[in-house]
Amino acid sequence: MTTAIEICERCESPLETGDLRCSICGQVSPADRPHAEKLTVQILRCRGCGAATAYDIKHQAPSCTFCDSVVEVETLEDPLEQSEGYLPFTIGQDEARKAMRHWLSSLGWFRPSDLTTSARLEQLKPLWWVGWVFDAESFVSWAADSNAGSRRSAWAPHSGQVEMTFDDILVSASRGLSDAEVSAISPGCDLATIRKEPEGAQNATIEQFDLQRSQARQQVIEAIQVIAAQRVEQSEIPGTSFRKTSVSVVLRKLITRRFSLPAWILAYRYKGRLYRMVICGQNASYVTGSAPYSIIKIIFVAVSVVAAMLAIFAAVAAS
């Protein structure tokens, strides 16, 4: 249902079934209606009863004035996005459990000492979350302030243009995972492992895209602008600190695929409170989540710091 039918003549992005125009550059997708050779007068008749048809506001379509049947016309389709495939789970339940213990024990000294032993796993659920993966070529114009070349003000203006390519960039469409969770676990996914059907986990929650195609494209384009601005700051603008970076992106060959990606969602309880963890379903070293801090340890450190400062003051005052 979301297959590419042809390539836009102008920007070489694929058009999909139901696109009347290219969503990137506005080029019209060719129609197959023949043009009139000479002046013709026609009365459009109902296929059912032969009465004349006219456009009807009630139906928002041409309809028969006599039998009320509606004439089919080609409209711009804006279907809900559908996943094209699933990356399989390669991390099982046991490995996910192990990854949780390992992660809890790696968090450092400020966590409660009994965190790893007392944390009780409440729930461990596989989730296929949804995201777009895109490739594109682009020509990016940018302007920004940076510290390079500054005089009295800390800032000086700069501008430039650069060709930029995007390969396999993942943009989250998930409602279940936060953007921070997605960026923590998505590097563990191997996009080449895509399958037609879900594989590797039972009773998984399978997230659906809940956006229409037009909104999805809008989100992908916004994500491209954010990434372009980051890349410009990394490698184009002279200087080391930046502000007011703007980009104008002319896209070509934008190809977007819709993926379902695997993740383990864990809920564990420590001293009556619930905490959440997310583990990449293909690589257990990509983990993110929340964990308690040890209040006692933090107070201890704070008190020690204050005590040390007082001692230094006292020493300075005495000298």
Binding site: R10, C11, L20, R21, I24, C25, G26, Q27, V28, A31, R33, H35, A36, E37, K38, L39, T40, V41, Q42, I43, L44, A52, T53, A54, Y55, I57, Q60, A61, P62, T65, V71, V73, E74, T75, L76, F139, S141, A143, A144, D145, S150, R151, R152, S153, A154, W155, A156, P157, H158, S159, G160, Q161, S214, R243, K244, T245, S246, S248, V250, L251
Partner: protein, 313 residues
């Protein structure tokens, strides 16, 4: 449209009704007609020409006649207090729903720009003042100053969804007043879509429409460039835009057209209603008497204050 020039009205074609065979005279810029004898709706198709291309798209009517008329009445009664009283009491008349020809334009805009970019900085300066005891003292304060740096650069962007009128009866400003149309509801043009409604062919030359599109595109670029500039402020923005890879397609847009006749000696005012969104646009005739009274009242009030202040000192 309603006020199309007379030489165009004279330009008529003869067609025959396919239902009853009657001969009908039709204004040559119309794409549709309804037979006065048998009420059959006809759609007329002509071979496309450069100034009269075949429509690519149509946006269907959503707002019906009653809703459009109510919107116009609301709009008239909420018109500015400076509107002529006879206008605010006038009833809108002769309403017609018409598919208005317009062009949907897009391009790649490459611009060279230059601007003075203002970068703010703060300085501590000393100044002398008199303190409460009458002594002269030196104090310091922080002031924000602006350093202007020149910036030259290039800017490229797609321009999409520029809509300009192709009907001689509706100015581009009049169409803009009822825009935007939600272009997500575009449909591929089919004659059945305009059957039973008035629909016009373009009555402006394609060159004129290109010019209107270019003007709108350059205005868009200017706005984009203002947003694009770095700095805390900027001045003297100058730019040169080259539009390439242009696409232009004919679209039929749904518009209700009303004429408001409010005085014997004045031409009627054209009021348009967006047939998709219900947005109303038109020029309200301003009462010069009301404006004069308001200005005089203002002057009297200001003068009164001035007198009062002067008499206190």
């Amino acid at each position: 449209m309603t006020d199309a020039p007379s030489e165009q009205v004279a330009d008529q074609v003869e067609i025959s009704c396919q239902a009853c065979g009657s001969t009908l005279l039709l204004d040559s810029h119309l794409r549709t007609t309804v037979c006065p004898y048998c009420a059959s709706p006809s759609v007329i198709e002509r071979p496309p020409s450069p100034n009269r291309p075949a429509p690519s798209f149509v946006v269907g009517f959503v707002v019906d006649h009653d809703r459009a008329a109510a919107a116009v009445r609301d709009w008239i009664s909420s018109a500015s207090i400076f509107a002529r009283s006879d206008f605010k009491q006038a009833a809108p008349e002769v309403t017609r729903g018409v598919y208005l020809p317009a062009y949907l334009y897009g391009a790649v805009a490459n611009s060279s720009y230059s601007a003075r970019i203002g970068e703010d900085y703060t300085e501590t300066e000393t100044y002398t003042t008199t303190d409460s005891k009458g002594n002269t003292v030196t104090r310091t304060r922080t002031v924000t100053k602006t350093e202007y740096r020149s910036l030259n650069g290039e800017h490229s962007t797609y321009i999409v969804d520029v809509v300009v009128t192709a009907s001689a009866g509706v100015t581009n400003d009049a169409l803009e007043a009822v825009e935007p149309f939600d272009l997500r509801a575009l449909r591929r043009y089919e004659p059945s879509f305009i059957s039973g409604w008035l629909a016009e062919d373009p009555s402006r030359s394609k060159d004129d429409c290109f010019q209107l599109s270019h003007d709108e595109s350059v205005a868009k670029v200017e706005q984009l460039l203002h947003e694009f500039m770095p700095g805390d402020s900027h001045t003297s923005l100058q730019f040169q835009t080259n539009l390439s890879n242009e696409v232009i397609d004919l679209v039929l847009l749904p518009v209700w057209s009303f004429a408001v006749r409010y005085a014997e000696d004045r031409p009627p005012v054209q009021i348009l209603v967006n047939g998709q969104t219900g947005r109303v646009g038109g020029k309200v005739p301003i009462s010069t008497i009301k404006v004069t009274i308001a200005v005089l009242t203002g002057l009297i009030v200001v003068g009164g204050f001035a007198l009062a202040i002067a008499s206190q000192n």
